[in-house]
Assembly symmetry: C2
Homo-oligomer: 98 residues x 2
């Protein structure tokens, strides 16, 4: 299992619409083979910032599976207009301490 | 519950020693009131980079509890010498989607 990690910076004044769109988009990613879970958390102190963590079976499930799917086209359409800048995705492995 | 989030950049060539030190340090943070869990995950593609996530009852458990404790002094002593730059901590709330 790997996690996909990104900090999302949403345009000012658009957080409510972004949150609705994320709830609408969730089933698109959840239906993707190798998807194992998602969390989208608002920052406590940084306005308009969210942490996205998606658990995948492996990186291929994200890069070769979801990102090349029609569901991803719809995901982009729902969400990408809200981002102040394009999110940088990093993958992390199983914990060395937990 | 909140999560403390930081990306840790460890000095080149010191990851094995850092991982050992983190395993040694874990009981120090785990004993702190309001601690609810920790994950330290290596990046898949960014050498020397780790994701730290600590679950706390609230921010005060971290800032006013752990960080002002003697355990934190020992935690710093064990770990802070490994960081290429001082980690930026961000707090995130309960998920709006999960």
């Amino acid at each position: 299992m790997v996690i996909e990690h990104a900090v999302l910076n949403v345009k000012a004044g658009q957080t409510d619409a972004f949150e609705s769109a994320m709830r609408e988009a969730k089933p698109l990613i959840a239906a993707s083979p190798g998807f194992e879970g998602i969390e989208v958390r608002p920052s406590v102190r940084e306005e308009n910032q969210y942490l996205l963590i998606v658990r995948w079976r492996d990186i291929a499930a994200h890069e070769d599976g979801f990102r090349k799917s029609e569901h991803y086209a719809k995901w982009r359409e729902l969400l990408h207009g809200f981002y102040e800048s394009m999110p940088q995705v990093t993958y992390f492995e199983e914990p060395i301490v937990s």
